[in-house]
Each structure stands twice: as C-alpha cells, then as structure tokens.
Amino acid sequence: MKKFGLLCAGIALVALAAGCSHLQQPTSDQPDDSQKPPAKQAEGEPIKIGFIGPLTGDVANLGQDTLKATQLAIAEVNAEGGISGKPLELIAEDGACNAKASAEAGNKLINLDKIPVILGGLCSGETNAFAPTAEQNKVVVLSPCSSAPNITQAGDYIFRTYPSDTFQGKFAAEYAYNTLGKKQAAVLAVLGDYGQGIKNTFMGRFKELGGTIVLAEDYNQESRDLRTELTKIKAGNADMIYFIAYTEAGIVGLKQAKELGLTIPVLSGDALDDPKVHENSFAEGLMYTVPSAPLTEEWKQKVIAAGGNPTLCTPYAYNNVKIIADIMNRVGTDATAIKDELYKVKDYPGVSGPVTIDENGDLATATYDVKIVKNGKAEVMKTDADQEAGDQKPAGDDVNDDANTDAGEDAE
C-alpha cells in the first residue's frame, strides 16, 4: 500500500515535471558558432532539421498532409545530392495545434536534437509557443502555415512563407462588404492566436468600411457544441456570419447552423480549406478566403503519390524545404547565416508562386481567392486580381446591387 502511494506520487511528480518543462528557459544550449558541429560533420552523417505540426488532435488532417509534403521535398533534396553531399534528415514532432505540446516539441528539437532549423508550426498558437525559445537559442523557425498577425513580431529568427492574416482579415472584410454587399456581420471565432488575429483585422476593416459588427463571439478550440453561440447569432439581425474555425469545430458549427435553420451566408478563413469539411452536405455554400496558390496538376500528383493530399499548407511546406536546402548549400548549416540569407529571399520560384520575404520575416505580398463549396468540392469564386481591379474603380462600381455607395471608403 505504502509502496504504491510512493510509486504514484513519483509518477505524478514525473508527469508534472514533464508538463512544466516548457516553462524552464534553456540556458546552456546557446549554439555559438565555434562549437557548431554540422560544418565539420563526417561524410554521410545526416543534417538534422526539425518539423513541428499538428499530427494529432485538431487540424491533424492538414498536419499529416504537411508532413508528407515536407518529407517529399526532403527526399527530392537528398536525391539531388543533399546538402553538399550530406543527406537531410527530418525529425518530426507533434505540436497538436496547442501551445503546451508544441512548446515541449520545440524544447526537444532545440535542446536535445540541436537542430539549426525548425519547419513549422502550422497553427499560429504552435509557432508562438516555441518561437521565444528558438529565438533565444538562435534557431531558425520557418512556418509554412501560421498566419496570426502577432508572429510578425515573434523575433529575428522567426520566418514564415504563409501570408499574415493582416492581409486575409482585410481581404475578407472587403469581400464581404463590397462584393457580397453585407453590412451587418456576426463574428464567431476560435480562441487563440489564429482566430483572434484574423477576427480583429476583419472587424477593424469591416467597421472602417461602414459595416456593423452585430455580435462577436469566441469559443474554445476544443468546443464541439456551438449551438448556443449560433442561437445568439440567429436572434440578432446579422446578414452574414464570419466563422473562424479549425476543421473539427468547423464541421460541427456548420452542421448545427443548418439544424438551427440559420440561412445567412457563412464566410470563413483558410483553415477550413480542408476536404474533410467540404465533403459534408451541410457545408454546401460555405465560402472562405484562402491564399492563391496556382498549383500544377503534376505537383499535386506528386504529393498524392507521397501519401498526402495537396491541402492548404503543403505547397508552402514543400517550398520551405527547398528554400532551406538551397541556402544550406550556399552558406552551410549555421543558423545565423541561414537567418541572414532568409531575409534576402526574393522572388523565389515556389510551387505556390513567387516567394519574397520582407524585413519582418513575413511574406511580402499576398493574393487571395474566395472559394465556395459546391457538390462537396471547393471551387474558386473570385480571384484577388478581380478584387484589386474592383478596388481601383470609382466608388460603388464594383459592388453588388444591394450595396450602396458608402463603399467608397475602401478607396483609401
């Protein structure tokens, strides 16, 4: 009995220690350039780089695809001679789309595996969770999918090749107001860096244009019952819902909206660019914004052959490996040198279009598509180019019949 009590206390302590490990700031692992091993690595010894993404839990669907695309790119790099003859080796860790798991994953990659580069995370909350440790330890982070605006300030070593939601939220607000002619939006957003970042830029721009936010509700990422939130929206007089969700809650929310008889259009964000959402009958008519990525059929087939699906984050993940490999081949595996080179990336011909990184480590420009779900498949409705062209016209010209000329404010 006593033994068991002690044993369980021990187990509890270990569990606690593991749980809190992300709180400890690493101290002794500053990889100063003199002791950086990779440059003197033996022939054939692999160069390790890290990957963090949601392999379980929310968004696991997109995370697994992204890992497959990353592995595909690494296999291609290795087939073409690797990094100065040495192969790249990927160490993949599960960020589970939450801060705790990804902070632990980041600590492991940085302190134990001592990788110079982390590819990831996907969810903005993941990237923000390990970014401070990476920054302190001078480890380069290159995210293929995190979009929260606050990642712009995450640090010198933190990069992304996915556009910030300062673009997306603004684009969505303009699309809703000008093109859809909606004036009264209800906003339902997931709590966390992604949902709140895009929500704030959307609401700011929508109000600036002259629209009203009838109701703004947040929900927990793990929530699978949005009925009461939707009930409140239904009781208001919104003419559209801006619904920001990851796959799992997205499916539930769309289903419950239909069951409750909510008929106003639903506009969503890039995280619902997941076939898992589209294949449901109740997702019919869902609109969402997503960065334009003109992928070739050949590339898509390559990803499918590698066991993944060419979903949202895959082209960026694939690009990132190629960009890093290209830099490593030129400057070696020192993280600081890689960082300096990343700031110089300009018009890199990625599979999703040209990649240019700005002085904040963000993608310099972004164009968006609006997709609509029809017959279980998402199709592009209107391109960013149309929208931009529209913006340049005199006030009111490009808006729908029911939109009036106060849309002129968007000319600024």
């Binding site: 369980c8 509890a12 669907n61 499916i251």
Partner: protein, 295 residues
Amino acid sequence: MLNILPQLIANGLIIGAVYALVAAGFSLLFSTNRHLHFGHGAAITAGAYALYFTLTERRMPISSAIIIALLAAVLVGWLCFVLVYYPLKKKHASAVVLLIAGIGLLIFFENLFVLLFGTDVKVVDYIAVTKGLTILGAVITKLQLFMIAVSLALLYGLFLFLYKNKYGITMRAIANNPELAVLIGIDKTKFYHLSFVIGSFLAGVAGILIALERNVEPIMGTGLMVEGFISAVIGGVASVPGGILGGFILGIVENLGIGFLPSGFKGAIAFTILFIFLIFKPMGLFGIRKGTRGD
C-alpha cells in the same frame, strides 16, 4: 434575450442528456467500486468509433452497427476492470492509485484509437442534416429529440434495475456497506463485473449518440468524461439519480450561462459549478454521507 430562452434550454437538454448518461454510469461505478473510473471516457470513444467503423466504413445496417458499438464499449469498460483495476484491487491499491490508473487508461485508449483510426476527425454521415422542428419556440432535430428520449428511457430503466431488481438492490447494498455485504455472503467481485458492464453500456450509448450528433475523434471521451464527472459531483458522486439530474443541470446552466455571457466562458462556467459544489456541497444534491464514506 428572452426570445432565445426556449432555444437555450433545448440546447441544454440535448447535451444534458449525454452528460446524464455518462454521469449515471460513472456514479454507478463509483458507488459500487468506491473509486473514480476516469477510464470511463474510453468506453464512450470505443462506442463512437465502433459505430463509425461499422456504419460508415463497413456499411452495415444501423441495427447491427449499434449492437457492435455497444459491445465494443462494454468490452473496453470491462477490460479496464479485468486487466487493470481488479489486479490493483487485489493488491489493495488505494483509491488514488486506481484514479491515476484510470487516467492512464483514458490516455492509453485515446492513443489506441489514434493508432487504429488515425488522428483526423470522422464524420458518421448517416442522418441527413436538415433544419429541425420548431417546438415551443426552440428548433430541435428529430435526432436530438431521440437522444433525449433514449437517454431518459435508459435512465428510467437503470432506476428500475437499481430499485426493483434483485441484482440492482444487491448492488446498492454493496454501495451502502461493502463489509456488511460480504458478511452476509454477497460475492462483491461478481457485482464489480456487473457494474462495469452496465456503466460502460451507458457510456456506449452516449458515444453512439454523440457520434451521430457531432463527429468522432480520439479525444472526444476525455472531454465528455470531464463534463460527466462534473455532472456526477453536482448530483452526488455516489448517487445515480443525482448524476442524471446533475447532467441535465450542467447542460442547461452551461448553455444559459453562455447565452448571456461571452461563449468563451463555457468551460469556466462548468468548472465554477464544480468548485462551488466541491466547497459548499461536497456530497452533491442527492449524495448521502453513508454512501461515500471511505473504506
């Protein structure tokens, strides 16, 4: 806000029906076995995945799918007892050890389902999604009415079993006073087995209903286990009728609460209720000190 009140109550009843099923099984297991069975969540997930597998992947008729799902839930719950709790109990492990073992079981099965079915969310696309019926100002689908009905019917059945059936009465006797029950020649172990079968059966029903109503994912059992546990505490952990009432109360309070507060507070509301009960009414609404007295 008054105009949405009927809908808020309906929303509370729908989810409350599921909480009640989980809480009733949990309370039954606690009162009979005298330890918190957090592995109970695994039986919910097992039921849900078995339904998904048989109905959506294997295209079996709904009747066989439901039977297999219930069997899977019962099997998982029973295995928890046979493979983990029973050997620990034979070594006179304390309730804390059994509690930790239960959390371990929950995590173990969560990972097992990840291994078997992958991490992505599964949709049981069986009932076409349409707008629900309007009843007393609330919109509610047929499935949701069915959920409430099934839950109430089963819980009534459980009540009859515990108060009218010979085995049920014996089970309550063990819950009341295990030592005395052994003295008068009751085989406690047999009833431990029975309680796990019945409790996991109820969890399986909850799993099936949730699978049809929402979707299926490996972590679903953990979330429902938390809500089920809070429901059980509200009603008095050792009281089965209390657990049922607690489930409905939690469902309604949660939904009424976020009807008026920002919805990000949902989890906070549930845990606030938990703390209020733990501090001011630790025996819950129906709990009696006799039933929860330690060994």
